[in-house]
């Protein structure tokens, strides 16, 4: 009982803290927060504690060495299924953004269309089944990594990578600033997926990395892989 109450206080404090730090507080909200503080010293204590976590983590070396891209890819991979049940669908609201994400097996798209005809419960179920099937199959494929006849001519790098992703059934995640308008010499011959990737990236000063069995990301060589312009991102922090 006491524990539950305590948990609730910290949950409330966490919501207040985020609202406050991202600048989503109007006059009415300030008044509510003030009232909340005046309700109990426990509220004040919880808020001060969580504030300290917030302060301490600013610019701290978190994420256990994971690059920005890897974190985003992992988060996106985890939401593919869950998103369908919630508000809208990830891919539908992205618009022309900086992160390209292409996959040859598109359970998401198929399910989207199904969703118009079925109740959401059955859609979620179908999504889970399809997604696990897809993951299983692709994982198997990557694990084998057999040779395939490959014929990707020299061209711009982005469409070449997308062709390979489509043919081999993996997901591609990269930032367009990283890949830019680079060209590839192409990849021709009987090649494993890794060999094909290596060929396509030859001379581009880029490298690939498997984020998981079915997701490949493209990274600049010799870089800490962090996003540029972090200063521009600080606007809503104070």
């Amino acid at each position: 009982m006491l524990k539950t109450r305590n948990k609730q206080i910290y949950e409330e404090a966490a919501e207040w803290l985020v609202d406050l730090r991202v600048g989503d507080m109007d006059a009415a909200a300030h008044e509510q927060l003030d009232a909340w503080f005046r309700e109990s010293p426990h509220h004040i204590r919880a808020f001060l504690e969580l504030s300290a976590i917030w302060e301490e983590t600013e610019g701290a070396d978190l994420g256990r060495g994971n690059s920005t891209e890897a974190l985003i890819a992992a988060a996106r991979a985890s939401t593919n299924v869950i998103q369908l049940a919630g508000e809208g669908v990830a891919s539908a609201r992205q618009g022309p953004n900086r992160l390209h994400c292409r996959s040859s097996n598109k359970p998401g798209v198929g399910i989207l269309m199904l969703a118009r005809f079925l109740s959401w419960q059955s859609v979620v179920l179908a999504a889970v089944v399809l997604a696990s099937l897809g993951v299983g199959l692709v994982a198997l494929k990557v694990h084998w990594d057999p040779d395939y006849a490959t014929n990707i001519p020299a061209q711009e790098l982005v469409p070449a990578l997308m062709t390979l992703a489509r043919e081999r059934g993996f997901q591609l995640v990269f930032r367009s600033e990283v890949v830019g308008a680079k060209h590839t010499q192409g990849a021709v011959g009987d090649l494993t997926t890794k060999e094909a990737l290596t060929r396509l990236l030859e001379g581009t000063n880029l490298a690939y990395s498997y984020l998981n069995e079915k997701t490949v990301t493209i990274l600049p060589v010799n870089s800490n892989n962090k996003l540029d312009g972090t200063d521009s991102g600080r606007g809503d922090r104070r």
Binding site: A14, R64, A74
Partner: protein
């Protein structure tokens, strides 16, 4: 040194002191029972002030009161408290914390524990918190990258903070 320079230095010192104080507060708040006295006092002071004073930014106000209470506390326990400005006391306190290896180690240890905890959270919560706190991405940028709404990003953030705190004080 010109007067302007001096003021600048002092302002910066004060800002830094506040930040250190918050950390100091956090460590003590978490660990020691006698801190409930401290929180009680902050609470009582807040009740005594006119509502209007704190309305503009209640959180900052609470923080300020907390700092005042803390440095009075420090004054009381000091061997020979001299008459000096509140600012000097703040700066002294900051120096004391910065040069205290135990306090520094404490921060490092806590950050490491926190990072381990973060990794065990859902990938969305983990990514959101690290992208915001480490990489300085805005909520809108994160929402765009993860393909979720801005309000969902906020939920992830508060979840991260809440769950990190659970890690730091499991018995809570």
């Amino acid at each position: 040194m010109k007067v302007d320079d001096k003021t600048g230095v002092r302002h910066r010192a004060r800002d830094q002191a506040r930040q250190r104080l918050r950390r100091y507060l956090a460590a003590r708040l978490r660990n020691s029972a006698d801190m409930s006295d401290f929180v009680q006092e902050v609470f009582l002071r807040l009740l005594r002030v006119d509502r209007h004073e704190s309305i503009r930014n209640p959180a900052a106000y609470v923080m300020m009161v907390a700092c005042h209470v803390l440095h009075q506390h420090t004054l009381r326990s000091a061997v020979a408290p001299e008459l000096s400005s509140a600012l000097d006391i703040l700066v002294d306190l900051q120096t004391a914390i910065e040069t205290d290896p135990a306090a520094q180690l404490d921060v490092q240890r806590r950050l490491q524990a926190l990072d381990r905890k973060l990794e065990s959270l859902s990938p969305n919560v983990h990514a959101t918190f690290v992208l915001h706190r480490r990489d300085g991405m805005t909520l809108d940028e994160i929402a765009e990258q993860l393909g979720v709404s801005r309000s969902m990003v906020k939920k992830y953030l508060s979840k991260a903070v809440f769950q990190c705190r659970e890690q730091l004080e499991p018995e809570g």
